[in-house]
C-alpha cells in the first residue's frame, strides 16, 4: 500500500500541494488560495490530489505519514494589518524602543530613490501604539544581575489597564532579559492569573538575543500574530483530523525545517517567510541528490523575486529579519526579496529618451496590461507575451487568457517615444529586467563573500525559467537548473515536504577572549537540555536526533559576526585554537582577504544549537536510460518569437516539457512549455533533461 509525504504551500494566488509516495511518484496540484479562510484552499488542493490519485479523500488523508504546511497567513495578517490588538509590558524607561526603531526608518528592500526623499520615507505604523505600552519597575544589568527587582504591584496595575483597553495579546520584553529570564516569566504567570486565555509572548521564549529593539519587535510581532494564527491552525488541524489525517500537523518554519503545531502556536513568528524558505529547503534536498553543493536559488513569480544562497549544502542564514520595515531577531534562512518579478513596470522618460524597468510593480491588481484587469503600464510579463516567449492562450496551463494585442499596443506607445521598434522595446524591457536581476543577485552573493562563478543557479517560480538563462549567464554561474520540471512552480510545497524537524536554540553570553570555557559549556549544556526536553515530548527516537552546535564570534570592537561550527558541542582548551583559526578563515572568506585582525581579542556573542530530526525522505525517481530522441508528441507547432541576439522574429520550435525524456537536448532558439511555466532557450544555449527530469540550461563555451 502506498503512503505519502505531503507538502502544502499557501501563496498569495495559489495553494500548491505536492504528494510523494515511497517509490518516487510525485503528484503536484494547485487550487486558488482562499484569503477569507485559507484552510478552504488547502482542503481544495488536497482534494484535487486525492482525485488525481484515484483515492477517496478520507483514505488519502489516512495514508499520509507527514503533512507539512507552509503558510502565508501570518504574512498576510501583517501586511493587511489584521493582527491582534497587542499590549506591551516592558522595562520602565524603554517604552519607546519600538517607536524610536534605533533612529532608522527601516530602509531594507526600499527603493533607493526614496531613501533621501524624506516625504516618502516615513516609519511604518507602529505595531503597538504608545498608549498600549506599559513600563514597569524592574532592572537587570549586563551581567544578568538584578538591580531593581520586579515590582509586581506595578505589573498587576499595568495588566489591568491593558485588559481594560481590550488587548487580545500581551508581549513582554525587559532589558537584558536574555541574561535573566525570571522577570518576564513572572509577568507571564501574573497575566495567567488575571486573564488565563490571553495570548502572552515573552521575549526570552521567542528571541533571547542581545539588542532590545529587535527583540521587542520580535515579541510584539509574535503577539500580534498569535491569536490570528491560533484561530487558523487549530481550525485547520481539527478539519484534517475529522477528515481522516492521523498524525500531528507539521508546520514549515523560516529556519528551513518544520516545527510541530504546538510550537507554531506559541511562536507564530517562525512561520513568516516560511514559503520562500521552503523553496531553499527543497533546493538543498535536490542539491544533495545531484551532488551540487553551491546553489543560488531564484524564485521569480508574478509579483515577487526571492533569492537564496546555498553553500556546501548549507543554506545561508541571517539572524536579523525584516518585515514591513520592522527589524526583528529570528534565525532564518536568508531570503532576499529583490524585486517585483514579472510585474515590474517599464517607464519611459521621453525628455531623456530613457527606459527604466521597476522597481515599481503592477502587483496582482491591476497587474500587467495583458491580464486585462485595468493595467495600463507595460510590465516584464507583457514584454514576454509580445516577444512570443509566453503563449497567451496557454498561460498557467490556460488558466488565464492573456491579451497580447493590448500588451503590444502599450509597448508600441513606449517604442514610439524611444524611437525603437515594438520588438526592440519589448526585448529591451526583458533585457533591462534580466541585467538588473543579475546586478542585484551578484550584490547579494558578493556581500556574503561568495563568487557567483562557483555556483549553479536554480530557477523556479512561474516567471523564473523565462528569464533565468539570461541573468544566469550574465552572473557567470556554471549552469541554470529548472528543478523537476513538472513541479517547478510548486517547488516550495516540495520543499515543505522534504523539511526536517528543526528547533533552533540560542543563548547570548558575551565573553572576551581568553574565554571562560566552563561558563560557555554550562550554556551549551542548557541549550542541549532544552532540545532534549522538546524531542522527548514529541517522542522522537534518540537515533533520529541531530545536534549541530555553533558560536557567533567577532573581533572585539567590531560589528561583523561570524558563525563558526562547534563540533562536539562543547568547548575544550584543545578546541579553542582551532576555533580561532576557523573564525579567521571564515571571516576572511566573508569579509575579504586581510580583513581579519589577529591582534584584536575575540568576542563570543551567541551560542546556538540547531536540533533536528530527519523526517521520512522523499524519494525521487531516476531514469535508468537516457535518450537523445525527442518524442514526436513533445513537438508543438512552431510560433514566431523575437530574438534580440538575431535582431529578428523567426518561427521557433516549441516543445511540451512534460513529454520530453531524460537525455533529450534542445538547442536554442527554442521554447519549452510546461503546465505552469515557460523555459526560454536563447541562441547559443542548450537545454538538457537530466535523469531526474530536471531541465539544465548550458551556456556555449
Amino acid at each position: 500500500m502506498k503512503h505519502y509525504l505531503v507538502g502544502v504551500d499557501i501563496g498569495g494566488t495559489f495553494t500548491d500541494c505536492v504528494v510523494l509516495d515511497q517509490d518516487g511518484g510525485i503528484t503536484a496540484t494547485k487550487a486558488p488560495s482562499t484569503p477569507g479562510n485559507f484552510a478552504d484552499g488547502m482542503i481544495d488542493a488536497l482534494t484535487v490530489a486525492a482525485e488525481r490519485l484515484g483515492l477517496p479523500f478520507g483514505e488519502f488523508l489516512g495514508r499520509i505519514r507527514v503533512l507539512t504546511h507552509g503558510t502565508t497567513v501570518g504574512t498576510n495578517a501583517l501586511i493587511q494589518r489584521k493582527g491582534a490588538k497587542v499590549g506591551l509590558i516592558t522595562t520602565r524607561g524603554i517604552e519607546d524602543a519600538i517607536h524610536i526603531m534605533r533612529g532608522s526608518r527601516g530602509i531594507h528592500s526600499r527603493d533607493l530613490d526614496k531613501l533621501v526623499h524624506f516625504p516618502e520615507s516615513q516609519k511604518p505604523v507602529p505595531i503597538v501604539p504608545k498608549r498600549l505600552i506599559e513600563g514597569v519597575s524592574e532592572r537587570v544589568d549586563c551581567f544578568g544581575e538584578v538591580v531593581v527587582p520586579l515590582n509586581e504591584d506595578e505589573v498587576r496595575a499595568a495588566v489591568a489597564r491593558l485588559l481594560a483597553a481590550g488587548v487580545e495579546a500581551i508581549g513582554v520584553c525587559f532589558l537584558w532579559s536574555f541574561k535573566h529570564k525570571a522577570h518576564e516569566h513572572r509577568v507571564r504567570e501574573i497575566i495567567g492569573e488575571m486573564a488565563p486565555q490571553l495570548f502572552v509572548s515573552c521575549s526570552v521564549d521567542i528571541a533571547p538575543k542581545w539588542g532590545e529593539y529587535e527583540r521587542t519587535t520580535a515579541t510584539a510581532l509574535n503577539a500580534y500574530l498569535g491569536p490570528v494564527m491560533a484561530r487558523y491552525l487549530e481550525n485547520l488541524a481539527a478539519r484534517l483530523q475529522a477528515a481522516g489525517y492521523r498524525h500531528p500537523l507539521s508546520i514549515a518554519q523560516c529556519g528551513g525545517g518544520s516545527i510541530p503545531l504546538d510550537r507554531a502556536l506559541e511562536a507564530p513568528l517562525l512561520t513568516l517567510d516560511s514559503g520562500p524558505v521552503s523553496g531553499v529547503t527543497g533546493s538543498v534536498f535536490l542539491g544533495r541528490l545531484m551532488g551540487t553543493p553551491n546553489i543560488i536559488t531564484t524564485d521569480m513569480g508574478g509579483t515577487s523575486f526571492d533569492v537564496g544562497i546555498i553553500f556546501e549544502h548549507q543554506p545561508a542564514y541571517s539572524f536579523v529579519a525584516d518585515v514591513a520595515q520592522y527589524e526583528y531577531f529570528l534565525p532564518k534562512v536568508d531570503i532576499q526579496a529583490i524585486g517585483a518579478g514579472g510585474g515590474s513596470m517599464a517607464r519611459v522618460d521621453a525628455a531623456t529618451r530613457t527606459l527604466q524597468v521597476g522597481p515599481q510593480s503592477a502587483g496582482a491588481a491591476p497587474g500587467p496590461v495583458c491580464y486585462g484587469r485595468g493595467g495600463t503600464v507595460p510590465t516584464v510579463t507583457d514584454a514576454d507575451v509580445v516577444l512570443g516567449y509566453i503563449d497567451p492562450d496557454n498561460f498557467l496551463g490556460g488558466r488565464i487568457r492573456l491579451d497580447r494585442a493590448a500588451a503590444t499596443a502599450a509597448i508600441a506607445a513606449q517604442a514610439k517615444q524611444l524611437g525603437l521598434s515594438v520588438m526592440e522595446t519589448a526585448a529591451g524591457i526583458a533585457r533591462i529586467a534580466e541585467f538588473k536581476m543579475a546586478d542585484i543577485i551578484r550584490k547579494t552573493t558578493v556581500q556574503k563573500g561568495f563568487d557567483p562563478r562557483d555556483f549553479v543557479l536554480y530557477a523556479f517560480g512561474g516567471a523564473g525559467p523565462v528569464h533565468a538563462s539570461v541573468f544566469g549567464a550574465e552572473l557567470g554561474v556554471k549552469k541554470v537548473v529548472i528543478p523537476l520540471r513538472h513541479i517547478a512552480s510548486t517547488w516550495c510545497a516540495l520543499g515543505a515536504a522534504s523539511a526536517d524537524i528543526l528547533h533552533v536554540y540560542e543563548q547570548v553570553d558575551i565573553q572576551v577572549s581568553p574565554f571562560d570555557v566552563a561558563r560557555a559549556n554550562r550554556s551549551l549544556a542548557a541549550l542541549e537540555a532544552q532540545a532534549r526536553a522538546r524531542m522527548d515530548k514529541d517522542g522522537i527516537a534518540r537515533s533520529r536526533r541531530r545536534y549541530a552546535f555553533s558560536v557567533d564570534m567577532r573581533h572585539k570592537g567590531q560589528i561583523n559576526e561570524v558563525e563558526v561550527p562547534l563540533p562536539g558541542g562543547r568547548l575544550t582548551a584543545a578546541l579553542l585554537a582551532s576555533l580561532r583559526e576557523r573564525f579567521y578563515v571564515r571571516y576572511e572568506q566573508l569579509y575579504g582577504h586581510g580583513s581579519s585582525y589577529r591582534n584584536a581579542r575575540l568576542e563570543l556573542v551567541t551560542l546556538r544549537l540547531r536540533a533536528s530530526a530527519e523526517t521520512p525522505r522523499p524519494k525521487l525517481a531516476k531514469a535508468r536510460t537516457l535518450t537523445a530522441t525527442i518524442p514526436a508528441a513533445a513537438k508543438r507547432p512552431a510560433r514566431p518569437v523575437y530574438w534580440a541576439e538575431l535582431k529578428k522574429t523567426r518561427p521557433t520550435p516549441i516543445y511540451d516539457g512534460a513529454l520530453l525524456r531524460p537525455g533529450n537536448r534542445i538547442a536554442g532558439p527554442a521554447v519549452v512549455e510546461t503546465t505552469d511555466t515557460t523555459v526560454v532557450i536563447h541562441p547559443r544555449r542548450t537545454l538538457r533533461v537530466d535523469a531526474y527530469g530536471n531541465f539544465e540550461i548550458l551556456f556555449a563555451a
Partner: protein
C-alpha cells in the same frame, strides 16, 4: 569682507584659502585623459550600463563596510564612495554620509592640477588625502582616491572617504573642542601617493599611522578603503571590456547630462529671486558666552543658483569649517530636495550652481583655523538653513512643494564625551552616539518623522541600550521620545529623544560636553511652523536614585528625582559623574510647518494621546480645547482660535485687500497677486495687501516679539549659556490674524528679508 568671486583664482589654491577649482583645470600634458563618450547609445544599453555603474558604487560601499567592520562604518555609516569622470565630475556618490560628497570632486580636481607632473598620476596609483583646505569635512575624514586607467588613458576616478577614530591632535578621537588652530588637531595630509603601481608605499603608510592613537584600527580601515577602491576599479574595467570604453564613458556623461536636464527643468518652473536664512551658533571655545551669526543667501538668476554666506561671523575658536565643508553641506540639501530623483548624481546640478562664500568666516575659514569639529557644528549650521532657503524657493511650484522639508533634529550635535575605567577593568573613551537618532522636520503635506535619524546620514542607526551598556559602565534610566520636542505647526516636526543614565559598576565617569544650539533653537520651523526643542543637558547631583531602586520604583523622567541640579556649560571639560549623579541629554528635534492653528484638532488630540504634544501646548500653541475623554472639542476649539486670531489683527482687520486670483503661493499663507499693474504679496487666507513683491512683506504684518523661550516649551532661560538675548518674532496677517512667518533673532538683529521674489507683472 571679500567674496571668493572677487579673489584671484590662483590664490584659491588650498593652502591659505580653501581650494576652488577653476573653470578650466590646468592638467599636466603628460597625463592622457580618455574623453570620448559615445553619443549614440541605445536606451536599452544605457539603462543596463547605468544600473551596473550604480551597483559598482553600492558594492564599493558594502566592501568598505564589510572589511572595516567598525561601528563607525556599520552603524554611523560615516563613509561614502563615489564615481567621477576623468575630469572630476560626479557620476554617482553613495547614500551614506552625505557631507562627504561635496568634498570629493575638489580633491580629484586638485590632484589633477597638482600631482600630474610630480609625482605623476599613473595606472595602479592611489592617493590618500584629508586636508580640509583641499577638500575634507575635517581631518578625521580620510579619503582614498583611485584613478582608473584604460590603455594608458585616465578613464575615470573611484574614491571613498571613511571617518577615522583617531589621527592625532590634542584630544583622543581627534575631535578637539578646545583647539585654537589646526596645528593642535589631527595630521593634515594634502593628497599623497600611498599606493604606487598597485603596491602600498610602506613609508607613507607608516607616516600616516604614526599620528594615530589607534594605529591598528586606522590600518584596518585603510585596508577596507583599499579593498573598496579595488573592487570598484575592477568592476568598471570589466564593464569597459564588455561594452567598450567609449560606450561606458558615454553612459557616464549621459547620466550627468540627464541629471542636468532634470535640474534645469525644475529651475525653469521657478521664479527668480533671493531667499535668505539666518541662524546662530554658540560657544566656540570653553568659556565663550557669545552667539555667532551664520547667514545664507540663495539667489536664483535664470538657470543659475548662487549661494553666499555674507553676514556670517568671522572664524573663531574650535567650530569652523572650510570652503569644501560649507559647499559639501549645501550639496546635501540640494541633492535631497532637488536631485532625489536622480540617484545621487549631483554632477548635473553642479554645472548650474555657484558657491560664493566669504573667506575668513566661520564656515569658510582660512588656514590654520581649527576645523576638527566642523561636521557637528559649522557644517550642520551651514546645512540646515539650506533646507529653508531651498524649500521656500521650491514652494512656488505646486509639484515641487511636495519635496520640501523643514529643518530636522540634531541640527547641532550635543556632544557627550566620557571616559574612565569600565566594568571590565579596561580604560575606555566614548562619544555617546544616541543623538544620531535625530528627527525629521515637517513637510508641506505631512508631519515630520519622530526620531527619524539625521537627514545628513539617511541610513544610520543608533546602538541599542544593551549594546552601549555592554561596553561602557552605564545604566540607562531611559531613552524616550520627548513630548513637545517637535516644532509645532499645521504639520508637526518629528520628535527627538532624551537619553538618561547613571554610572554603573565604576567609581565615576569623567565627562566633557561640546554643544551649541542649547540657548537659541537651530531647528527653526518654516512658514509659520515653530522651532523644535533646543539641545538640553540636564544634570542632577546626589539623587535618590538608589533609594528608589531599593523601593522598586524606577523614574520616568529626571525631573522626578530628588537631588541637586547643576548647570552644565557648552564646552565643560573634565567634570565628574558619580554613581548617584544623573545625567540626561536631549537633542534638537524637527521644525514645524505652517500655522499651528491650522492643524486638524483631531490630530492634536491624537498627538496628546500618543505623548507627542502636551495638553498644555495643545491649548497654548495649537489653540485646541480637549474634552474630558481626550477628544477634541470642535466648537470650543474654533471659538478659542477665532478669539486669538482677532487679538492679532490691526485696526480690527480693516485693511486693504487685493482681489482676483493668486499668481502663485510663496509660502503657506503668503500669495502673490497682480495689483494695479504691479505684483504684490498678500495674505493667502484673507487677501490683505502686504505690499510690493520686492519689499519685505513682514514689515506690513503685525509683529509680536517675545523672549525665545515662547517658541518651544523646552527652551528655557538663555542666560544659562549666552549673554545676548535671543528673541522670537511672529508675523501675523493684519487682516485676519493668520500666522505667516516666525523668526528667531539676536535681539539687535534686523527683521530678516527671507523672500524677495522677482515676479514680473507681465
Amino acid at each position: 569682507m571679500t567674496k571668493i568671486s572677487d579673489i584671484a583664482p590662483e590664490r584659491l589654491d588650498g593652502k591659505l584659502m580653501g581650494y576652488v577649482p577653476p573653470a578650466r583645470l590646468r592638467i599636466a600634458k603628460k597625463l592622457k585623459l580618455h574623453t570620448r563618450g559615445s553619443r549614440r547609445i541605445d536606451p536599452i544599453s544605457f539603462e543596463v550600463i547605468r544600473h551596473a555603474l550604480w551597483h559598482v558604487n553600492e558594492e564599493h560601499g558594502a566592501t568598505i563596510q564589510r572589511v572595516s567592520g567598525s561601528p563607525v562604518a556599520m552603524y554611523a555609516l560615516d563613509l561614502n564612495p563615489s564615481i567621477l569622470t576623468e575630469d572630476g565630475e560626479f557620476v554617482y556618490f553613495g547614500p551614506y554620509m552625505q557631507y562627504m560628497s561635496g568634498v570629493t570632486d575638489t580633491q580629484v580636481k586638485w590632484i589633477l592640477e597638482n600631482r600630474g607632473d610630480n609625482p605623476g598620476i599613473r595606472d595602479g596609483d592611489m592617493f590618500l588625502a584629508n586636508d580640509p583646505w583641499v577638500g575634507a569635512a575635517h581631518q578625521q575624514d580620510v579619503m582614498l582616491i583611485c584613478p582608473v586607467f584604460w590603455k594608458g588613458e585616465l578613464f575615470c576616478w573611484v574614491t571613498n572617504c571613511l571617518h577615522q577614530y583617531d589621527i592625532g591632535g590634542i584630544t583622543p578621537s581627534s575631535f578637539c573642542p578646545s583647539a585654537e588652530n589646526a596645528y593642535e588637531e589631527g595630521i593634515c595630509i594634502p593628497p599623497v601617493k600611498i599606493v604606487e603601481g598597485n603596491e602600498i608605499r610602506r613609508d607613507i603608510e607608516e607616516l600616516y599611522l604614526r599620528a594615530s592613537r589607534k594605529p591598528d584600527a586606522v590600518a584596518l580601515d585603510f585596508r577596507a578603503q583599499l579593498a573598496g577602491n579595488i573592487a570598484a576599479r575592477d568592476r568598471i574595467l570589466a564593464l569597459v571590456r564588455k561594452y567598450g570604453p567609449d560606450e561606458v564613458k558615454g553612459v557616464m556623461k549621459r547620466i550627468i547630462d540627464n541629471a542636468e536636464r532634470a535640474f534645469l527643468d525644475k529651475l525653469d518652473r521657478l521664479p527668480d529671486g533671493v531667499w535668505r536664512d539666518r541662524t546662530y551658533i554658540e560657544c566656540c571655545r570653553p568659556g565663550d558666552r557669545r552667539v555667532h551669526r551664520v547667514c545664507l543667501t540663495l539667489r536664483k538668476v535664470g538657470r543659475k543658483l548662487i549661494f553666499e554666506n555674507d553676514g556670517t561671523a568671522p572664524q573663531d575658536g574650535a567650530m569652523n569649517a572650510t570652503f569644501s565643508g560649507w559647499r559639501g553641506s549645501l550639496m546635501v540639501a540640494l541633492n535631497q530636495l532637488m536631485c532625489w530623483d536622480q540617484y545621487f548624481c549631483v554632477g548635473g546640478a553642479l554645472r548650474h550652481v555657484e558657491f560664493n562664500p566669504t573667506p575668513g568666516t566661520i564656515n569658510c575659514a582660512n588656514f590654520p583655523a581649527s576645523v576638527s569639529t566642523a561636521p557637528i557644528q559649522s557644517m550642520e549650521i551651514s546645512l540646515y538653513p539650506t533646507y529653508n532657503v531651498l524649500s521656500k524657493m521650491l514652494y512656488c511650484d505646486p509639484q515641487m512643494r511636495r519635496d520640501i522639508m523643514c529643518i530636522g533634529g540634531t541640527s547641532q550635535w550635543p556632544g557627550t564625551l566620557f571616559r574612565g575605567t569600565n566594568q571590565w577593568g579596561e580604560y575606555y573613551g566614548y562619544v555617546l552616539i544616541d543623538p544620531i537618532g535625530g528627527a525629521i522636520g515637517a513637510f508641506a503635506q505631512g508631519d515630520g518623522i519622530n526620531t527619524g535619524g539625521q537627514s545628513r546620514t539617511p541610513i544610520c542607526k543608533l546602538p541599542n541600550i544593551e549594546h552601549t551598556e555592554q561596553d561602557f559602565p552605564l545604566l540607562f534610566l531611559y531613552r524616550k521620545e520627548m513630548v513637545d520636542s517637535g516644532g509645532a505647526g499645521k504639520w508637526r516636526g518629528g520628535l527627538s529623544a532624551e537619553s538618561c543614565f547613571i554610572p554603573h559598576r565604576t567609581p565615576f565617569i569623567t565627562q566633557d560636553t561640546t554643544s551649541s544650539g542649547n540657548a537659541v533653537p537651530t531647528s527653526t520651523g518654516m512658514m509659520g511652523g515653530y522651532p523644535a526643542t533646543v539641545n538640553t543637558y540636564k544634570f542632577v547631583r546626589e539623587t535618590d536614585i538608589h533609594a528608589r531602586f531599593a523601593r522598586r520604583s524606577m523614574p520616568s523622567d529626571i525631573d522626578e528625582l530628588a537631588g541637586r541640579p547643576e548647570g552644565l556649560q557648552l564646552r565643560q571639560m573634565n567634570f565628574r559623574q558619580n554613581p548617584a549623579d544623573v545625567y540626561a541629554v536631549m537633542w534638537s528635534a524637527g521644525g514645524g510647518f505652517g500655522d499651528p492653528f491650522e492643524r486638524d484638532p483631531e490630530r492634536v488630540a491624537d498627538d496628546v494621546a500618543e505623548r507627542a504634544v502636551s495638553a498644555a501646548a495643545a491649548r497654548a500653541i495649537y489653540g485646541v480645547v480637549l474634552a474630558a475623554d481626550g477628544s477634541a472639542d470642535a466648537a470650543a476649539t474654533a471659538a478659542l482660535r477665532a478669539e486669538r486670531r482677532r487679538a492679532r489683527v490691526r485696526d480690527g482687520g480693516r485693511v486693504a485687500r487685493i482681489g482676483g486670483a493668486a499668481l502663485a503661493h510663496l509660502t503657506d499663507n503668503l500669495a502673490v497677486k497682480k495689483h494695479r499693474g504691479r505684483v504684490h504679496t498678500c495674505c493667502a487666507k484673507c487677501d490683505a495687501d502686504l505690499g510690493p513683491v520686492r519689499g519685505n512683506y513682514k514689515e506690513r504684518c503685525v509683529m509680536e516679539e517675545q523672549d525665545v523661550a515662547a517658541a518651544n516649551p523646552h527652551i528655557g532661560d538663555y542666560k544659562r549659556y549666552i549673554d545676548e538675548q535671543p528673541v522670537w518674532r511672529q508675523f501675523f496677517c493684519p487682516g485676519c490674524g493668520a500666522l505667516i512667518e516666525n523668526e528667531v533673532a539676536r535681539a539687535g538683529d534686523p527683521i530678516l528679508a527671507d523672500i524677495e521674489v522677482d515676479w514680473k507683472a507681465s
